[in-house]
């Protein structure tokens, strides 16, 4: 139904941070990702899940698409809390096997059917509920490959489900799994990023990531470093990147906007967000 949305900035918001969840429509992100995984301590999971239904509505008021990052081990309860109208898809972290994707598909299908949930689409482009269910209007899956096994099986994993539309590398966990060099650089990272871009393009999935540089890097980098990493990531073939600080959103939006005629879609996206904010 929708053209592939412009998704330059994916802002991760810890699900239990009610203050941030409540302001999630004000940050200008193309995609708001509520986290139920690593940013949320086990003792706060319950509070985080309780925020999801309201959070999804809230983030949509800023014209953002909404994803929820689930804990693979707690998938059933995370999806039970998150599969509500307005949700666009889920991020599955640390995926290693096709079986894990199958289980996610089954659980998604269960709650979609039970609650009549379909992909939300962009603002003002809400799906009709008598539209027949198809893989196109079912909730999406974004794979985050965070260890050697998942990266090794990237090709097979990305082809395993029609729900998978985008993919990224989980950098922090990769560092732990593959070990950094003494100078702090992860020597495999450029290789893994390039490989991911190739595999993603070959399988018709959108690669998400930024070319983070040493000293100020990662999802908490300064706005300047974020812009530079986004530019490099854009040139390498990434379509957008995840970040954790709201201050990084504008830099990602700018860095992933093409200089040529490709900018038209991005400008339309920004206009859609502005209109949504006015409606809200």
């Amino acid at each position: 139904m929708t053209a592939q949305a412009v998704r330059r900035s994916w802002l991760l918001i810890p699900g239990h941070r009610s203050d941030l969840v409540d302001r999630s429509h004000t940050f200008g992100a193309d995609v708001v990702v509520f986290d139920l995984e690593d940013l949320v301590h086990d003792g706060r999971k319950h509070a985080a899940r309780a925020n999801m239904q309201h959070g999804i509505e809230r983030a949509r008021q800023g014209g953002a698409e909404v994803f929820v990052r689930c804990d693979l081990e707690l998938l059933y309860v995370d999806l039970e809390a998150s599969v509500w109208r307005g949700l666009q898809g889920i991020i599955l972290p640390k995926v290693m096997t096709v079986e894990q994707i199958r289980e996610a598909e089954d659980t998604l299908a269960h709650f979609e059917a039970e609650r009549g949930v379909m992909q939300a689409g962009l603002v003002h482009e809400v799906n009709e509920f008598d539209e027949p269910r198809s893989i196109e209007n079912s909730l999406e899956i974004h794979l985050s490959l965070e260890n050697a096994q998942g990266n090794d099986a990237a090709d097979e994993l990305l082809q395993s489900s029609g729900r998978i539309r985008s993919v990224s590398l989980g950098r922090a966990d990769l560092v732990m799994d593959l070990r950094g060099e003494p100078n702090g650089e992860l020597h495999l990272m450029p290789f893994l990023m390039q490989r991911l871009i190739i595999v993603a393009n070959a399988t018709g999935v959108s690669p998400v990531g930024a070319w983070w540089q040493a000293t100020s890097r990662g999802m908490r980098a300064s706005p300047e470093a974020t812009l530079q990493s986004a530019r490099l990531g854009f040139l390498a073939g990434f379509k957008g990147a995840l970040c954790v600080e709201p201050e990084q959103v504008a830099a990602l939006n700018q860095g992933f906007t093409p200089a040529d005629e490709g900018a038209t879609a991005c400008l339309a996206r920004d206009e859609a967000k502005r209109q949504a904010a006015e409606w809200a």
Binding site: K45, H46, R49, E73, L74, L75, Y76, V77, D78
Partner: protein, 130 residues
């Protein structure tokens, strides 16, 4: 400090549904006489863990062997589930052996042997849960 719950053999489904909750660390299964009992409990617990937001494998099992039939299958029981961490002899064992000291001692040792051979912890509960 974890919480253990001894369920009843009469109604394992209902008891597990009530007992498998965040904060509970161990389920004690009494009167174990087959490895199937363990596997059934394991499957029920796995399903409850999933639905209640408990990380898979969190809940441990402690099997109580309390009859000659149980002693007979102790070796099989010891390798029946990765959840199984301890095996013990339960209070009913004494009833079966009518306080025949030698036979009781043999049965207890037999269970302990299979428990240790499987890399688990023997935990005698003959006099604890009476």
């Amino acid at each position: 400090m974890g919480v253990s719950v001894r369920i009843s053999l009469a109604s394992p489904e209902a008891d597990l549904a009530a007992a498998v909750r965040p904060g509970v660390s161990t389920i004690i299964l009494p009167r174990v006489e087959s490895s199937n009992q363990i596997r059934t409990a394991d499957a029920l617990i796995s399903d409850l863990e999933k639905r209640r937001g408990i990380r898979p494998g969190t809940i441990e099992l402690h099997a109580l062997i309390e009859s000659p039939e149980g002693v007979n299958v102790a070796q099989e029981v010891a390798s029946s589930s990765p959840r199984l961490k301890t095996i013990g002899v339960g209070p009913n064992m004494r009833v079966h052996f009518e306080n025949d000291g030698d036979a009781l001692e043999y049965a207890t040792a037999e269970c302990e042997l299979h428990t240790l051979a499987a890399g688990l912890t023997p935990l005698n509960m003959q006099y604890v849960l009476d």
